[in-house]
Symmetry: C2
Amino acid sequence: MTDFADTPEPPYFAVIFTSLRTAPDPEYDETARLMLDLAAAQPGFLGAESARNQDGFGITVSYWTSEAAIAAWREQADHQVARREGRALWYQGFRVRACRVERAYGFDTAEERQT
Amino acid sequence: MTDFADTPEPPYFAVIFTSLRTAPDPEYDETARLMLDLAAAQPGFLGAESARNQDGFGITVSYWTSEAAIAAWREQADHQVARREGRALWYQGFRVRACRVERAYGFDTAEERQT
């Protein structure tokens, strides 16, 4: 998901999740992928963007149609399990900030992205 | 700035800047550092968090006391110059989303961060 989320005109909602990972763990990567699949299947999911520095500091922003959609996602059982495991095993620390997106703009070159 | 921003209790404001870089450029790194110094000197700046994947996709979130503080930052002349250069030289694309942070929570291990 190392790409832009295709979000609609504001207003919509965002969850900014910043985290500092412990040592790399293949099980983390698998669970993170599963969590994204689950989020994408939730009502109200608009997309997500994610980046992580080589030292383990990362930011994932997920976008949602409403605060109710975010709350439903938080309550989602599998997600709660992953959050518990994450707290114990995968993160030295994290911050969660829930926001209302008020304005947005962007820019793209004419060229297709080179991957 | 690969660390958590020390933000106050909500509400406050955030600018989520997601970008896809072109090829690495030392001048970009220098200008990015200068821009952060300038932001930090602006009234209303609360902090920033930043991460970038090795393929060039990155997220920087800056936090502000008010929408007026964000607007003043946008108008800051040096910043405008950097934005113009960035559009032409440094980014294949970017998105800017201005948000109001409504809720926040976090977690830290007892251990100090190992750097």
